[in-house]
């Protein structure tokens, strides 16, 4: 059986659809978490959701539903602690994270199945996605996208400066709880494809990738969604192709693909920022005459011009050529040091 045959199978269609929507939704909500400097919130919720899955396995109810409920409760508790706890909020979060994971593993043990049955939830699994799950994933992803894109200005304001937002009359607490609940829903949506322990990566790594190149919040958000889709769908296909030979969970391949995209944009981002800094116009010459324009450079054999390769940067009414940490302005036959 090869990849082409695999692609014809129903469960692959379901998995691809789920990956597509997860890839769109997770970075959308992740952008707001990163803006709030809560990049690891998704990770915390993922750990708490492990208990939810274990409860579902123990009681024989659908683990998806128990995970959604437990994750939402956990997310709201985290949000409340964060709002109230000021300085030591992160310690409280850590307590919840570990409690969730330990509780989940313990409960699965009680069930007598051991931790192995949890595995498909921890790292994702291609074959575990049922028809109903796809519609569930799809509906939740649409809700997440509609809310994050529709309320983008409000959520941006609350995430970047909650105090200003509050004075502006926004319901800061409600928006914060909304983001936390959406993050919890995203975690459970992504549980089947990326798995609970790696879902946070799909929320954060695409944002980190996109912000290498973006200058505004909106472009970071849309860029992250693009990266998320490529990573989720590409990673899924990769793991399907590999699973012809061995058992490869989709979660790790998706995350590694996203990390590879980050690694390849990083140098590009460094170069772009460097170039942008180099080309930013210099402030115009002060009118008060404290001008040093006649520092003539000695021994300047090079002829600056349009295509000499040195950035020509606007400086008041003329341009300075930037090279080797100097700014040279043409002045008749010689260059002035600016």
């Amino acid at each position: 059986m090869n990849l082409i045959d695999l692609l014809g199978l129903d469960f692959m269609h379901r998995a691809l659809l789920a990956a597509l929507f997860t890839g769109l939704a997770a970075p959308a909500i992740g952008t707001f978490l990163v803006q709030k400097r809560l990049a690891l919130l998704g990770d915390g919720i993922g750990h708490i959701a492990v208990t939810g899955v274990a409860l579902g396995l123990l009681t024989g109810t659908s683990p998806t539903w128990t995970a959604v409920v437990v994750a939402i409760i956990g997310a709201v508790v985290i949000e409340v602690i964060r709002e109230q706890g000021h300085t030591n909020g992160d310690v409280a979060l850590a307590l919840l994270f570990y409690g969730g994971l330990a509780g989940g593993v313990l409960i699965t043990g009680l069930d007598g199945q051991g931790a192995s049955s949890l595995n498909s939830y921890l790292f994702g699994s291609l074959t575990s996605i049922r028809g109903g799950d796809v519609w569930f994933t799809l509906a939740l992803a649409v809700v997440i996208l509609a809310v994050t894109l529709g309320l983008l200005p409000q959520l941006f304001s609350v995430a970047s400066d909650p105090e200003f937002a509050k004075v502006a009359g926004l319901q800061v607490r409600a928006y914060n709880v909304l983001v936390a609940v959406l993050a919890a829903v995203t975690v459970t949506v992504a549980m089947r494809t990326v798995g609970l322990l790696l879902v946070s990566a799909l929320m954060v790594v695409p944002v980190a990738t996109s912000q290498q190149l973006a200058r505004s919040f909106r472009t970071t958000l849309t860029g992250a969604m693009g990266v998320g889709v490529v990573a989720a769908v590409g990673g899924l296909l990769l793991s399907a192709a590999l699973s012809v030979h061995a058992t490869v969970a989709p979660g790790p391949t998706i995350v590694l693909l996203a990390l590879a995209m980050f690694a390849s944009t990083w140098p590009l981002g460094v170069w772009l920022r460097h170039r942008r800094r180099l080309r930013a116009p210099f402030p115009a010459v002060p009118a008060d005459g404290t001008d040093h324009s006649h520092d003539v450079t000695e021994d300047h054999s090079h002829q600056h011009g349009d295509d000499c390769g040195h950035p020509a940067v606007q400086h008041g009414d003329h341009v300075d050529y930037v090279h080797d940490g100097h700014r040279h302005a043409p002045h008749g036959e010689h260059y002035d040091e600016h």
Partner: protein, 262 residues
């Protein structure tokens, strides 16, 4: 323009604020009339920011009351009438945001949820950027700006909502003289149009001629309320006192809250 007989815009009575059980503001009464330009002064830690936060509803009162435009703060919903510049070192978050995006968030008070910005909104944002001299940096990332430029972006954010009551907490800290003058010119225009301004500042600089009234806080109490003062009088340079500024007790357990201590 100050109208002594005009309506009271800010009406704070017996405002007392305790943080972690420790009184920070003690029974202060402050009435600001429409069009007044008030400078709130005092040493570090005297409670200026806390008073501004209490007046804007960011800091709950332990006792006393605050009314804005005649409406008790709890019921006050004309948020588009308030502009706020927080005391801040940076305007950047974890994700890049353009200067325009930051300034545009000051316009949300006048925009309905789920509606794209209209022409008036874009105009207001552009004007605000123009006033603080950042029009040419509108598309740049806010984190690529210097501290003083970021402070100017925060001022523009407050201007974008076209409010008629401003709370400015040290808006000119770190801003150079030409831009302080530009801000003073903008505030003068607003003031002449009838806006009310509550300004926290250590040094008034070019804003000094605008000030109608000075209020000096000292250790959580209003120590002076009257015509503008010289800088020396505000900072008590002639009578230096050794001040004890022990902070509120630190929170030891993760689930403890400062608010709970009240």
């Amino acid at each position: 323009m100050l109208n002594e007989h005009g309506p009271v815009v800010v009406d704070a009575r017996d405002v007392t604020v305790a943080i972690g059980g420790r009184p920070v503001l003690r029974s202060n009464t402050l009435r600001v009339h429409e069009g007044e330009f008030l400078a709130l002064m005092g040493a570090n830690g005297s409670g200026k920011s806390t008073l501004v936060r209490a007046l804007t509803g960011l800091r709950p009162l332990t006792s006393g009351s605050v009314a804005l435009f005649g409406t008790p703060l709890d019921d006050f919903d004309q948020r588009q009438r308030i502009g706020f510049v927080p005391q801040r070192a940076t305007a950047a978050g974890g994700v890049p945001a353009s200067v325009r995006e930051v300034v545009a968030s000051g316009r949300l008070t006048r925009r309905r949820v789920l509606r794209p910005p209209g022409r008036a909104d874009r105009r207001a944002v552009a004007d605000a950027l123009e006033v603080v001299g950042l029009a040419d940096r509108a598309g740049d990332g806010i984190s690529t700006l210097s501290g003083g430029q970021q402070q100017r972006a925060l001022i523009a954010r407050a201007l974008a909502g076209e409010p008629d009551l401003f709370f400015l907490d040290e808006p000119t800290a770190g801003v150079d003289l030409p831009n302080q003058q530009a801000l003073a010119a903008a505030l003068r225009t607003l003031s002449e149009r009838g806006a009310t301004v509550v300004l926290v500042a250590h040094e008034l600089g070019p804003l000094a001629p605008l000030v109608d009234r000075a209020v000096v806080l000292r250790d959580g109490r209003i120590a002076y309320d009257g015509p503008p003062l010289s800088e020396e009088a505000v900072h008590f340079h002639h009578h230096p006192t050794t001040e004890h500024h022990d902070h509120a007790p630190h929170v030891a357990s993760p689930l403890d809250t400062l608010e709970g201590g009240r």
